[in-house]
Amino acid sequence: MLSYIVRRLLLMIVTLFGVSVAIFLLLRIVPGNIADILFDSAGLIDPAEKQKIVVDLGLDKALPVQYGQWIFGLFRGDLGYSYVSEKPVIDEILPRIPITARLAGLALLFAVCTGVPLGVISAVRQNTGLDYLLRVFSLTGLSMPSFWLGLLILMFFVHYFGTIPIYDRAPATYWAWIQMLVIPAAAVGFRSSALIMRLTRSSMLEVLRQDYVRTARSKGLSERAVTFDHALRNAMLPVITTIGVETAFLMGGLIVTETVFNIPGVARFLVEAIRWRDYPMVQNLVMFIALVVVVVNLIVDLAYMFVDPRIRYGQ
């Protein structure tokens, strides 16, 4: 077990290394750099002036040199300076991460708190009217584009309440943050909630059929105990996997939701940084996101291993 964890950690480092090379190269394949964009917004075309900026930022050095500078800086804790704002990357990223983290956290919380109970109900009341209703409802959640849902929500609020639940200034208290993020979180989490509901339902159904549940029933435990204690725990397995997979997909939903609800989080910021070809910003942000995804994957795989004894990796 320990050796497995150590091995996975080492592999994590390999993955992160791969991500760093990938994003570094990808960015430089894309035509246009910050000098182009700055000059484009000013409407100028003087190659000599542009070259000065390029040299200033070290963009003319050989690729391995640039990469080396970045990575060694990373180890020292120096993430470099944003090409656009000329401020340290850390100062730009750090305040924004909690915002997106809160949004993502609330969304997942919403998804799990609505998805799991509804999934259980749907499974226990299989093939009844309620089951069909819930299944159709969850399918709707999976079918709607999240930005469309967001727009519809905004339209609804404006039309019926004359207010608009978007971010316009930094909330003062933690509670104020939650209040502001609740609606966007629901918009983002609706889809995940539908997914979790369906998965909970199908894995509950599967487990409810299996032998040991019948055995538990025959022991005379009450229906309720059977459902909740045995089936639920075992049904959680695919759900946990999904949470892992969803974390990566969540990013897309976060980007559009932050755009529609105007939340100044890290997701929206990343898109802008790409548009501006702000290499230090994009590289470091992507590394951070990759770190989160990789860690979540590891946790998911460990949980998977614990619960399903049939899966043993090369042992």
């Binding site: 990808l26 894309v30 299944r135 079918s143 469309w148 519809l152 599967e206 559009v256």
Partner: protein, 277 residues
């Protein structure tokens, strides 16, 4: 005939989904004849006309008929979705199957590559790909297919891992069957069902991804009438006076994805023996 009746009784939702899909696919294939007006012709006088009369679903800012654009949009959205799903699922399955079955170093490397691809956020990848290759139909398909690969590979791989330990595989090994034959003859068919289910599920998500990309200004460019792009910039601004510009394309997207999901569910119920009622 009786087969269809049987199916309809057994999988009512699935048949519903199939019907929805058929309608859209029909519209997509025969867009030229079905659409009442040309989706590209601009007509300033009809700008932002409300639904009714010649413009069944209203007209957009440039005076183009929304209904006709929706029908042609079906073609674009479905083409992108099908293309990306085939590409992504195909590559992903091949990768997952081989890495799960072969194991060892190969598995390790493929796993890492998959993890790397998964760690790069989907929209970031798409942005980068469309920026470097230029916005076009093919590039959008590639941009959407690529992030699918690691996800499909991962699921197929874990499936294969379980299957590998199954008794019938052990038995086949005991009889001296070559690894290659076991993989193709025994393991692969058992992954097909989940693969089809997965692919159908992915179909829906690729349509949504294309919509998000177009919403952000990437994805299929002008003048192709992609549903996703019909929902972005020049439509959504008029959201108060011309809400039909936002409602109809969104409904279309939701309906198609709904259809694929219904179909996918029914397929899973039918094909995946573990899920039989």
């Amino acid at each position: 005939m009786s087969e269809i009746a049987y199916l309809a009784r057994r999988y009512p939702l699935g048949v519903g989904g199939a019907i929805i899909m058929t309608v859209f696919v029909f519209a997509a294939i025969f867009a030229g004849t079905v659409a009442p007006l040309d989706p590209f012709t601009t007509n300033p006088r009809a700008s932002l006309a409300p639904p009714g009369g010649t413009y069944l679903m209203g007209a957009d800012m440039m005076g183009r008929d929304v209904f006709s654009r929706m029908i042609h949009g079906a073609r674009i959205s479905l083409a992108v979705a099908l293309g990306a799903t085939f590409l992504g699922s195909g590559f992903g399955a091949a990768l997952g199957l081989s890495s799960g079955y072969i194991g060892g170093w190969f598995d390790l490397i493929v796993q890492r590559i998959a993890e790397i691809m998964q760690s790069l956020p989907l929209l970031v990848m798409a942005l980068v790909i469309t920026a470097s290759l230029g916005p076009s139909l093919t590039n959008t398909i590639i941009a959407i297919a690529i992030p699918l690969i690691p996800n499909v590979a991962r699921v197929i791989r874990s499936n294969v891992l379980s299957l590998r330990e199954m008794p019938f595989v052990e038995a086949a090994k005991a009889t001296g069957m070559s690894e290659w034959r076991i993989a193709v003859v025994h393991v692969l068919p058992n992954t097909l069902a989940p693969l089809i289910v997965l692919a159908t599920a992915q179909l829906g998500s690729t349509i949504l991804t294309e919509a998000s990309l177009s919403f952000l200004g990437l994805g299929v460019p002008e003048p192709w009438p992609s549903w996703g792009r019909m929902l972005s910039e020049s439509a959504a601004e008029y959201v108060q006076t011309a809400p039909w510009l936002v409602i109809f394309p969104g409904l279309a997207i939701s309906l198609v994805v709904f259809g694929t999901n219904l179909l996918g569910d029914a397929l899973r119920d039918a094909l995946d023996p573990r899920q039989q009622d």
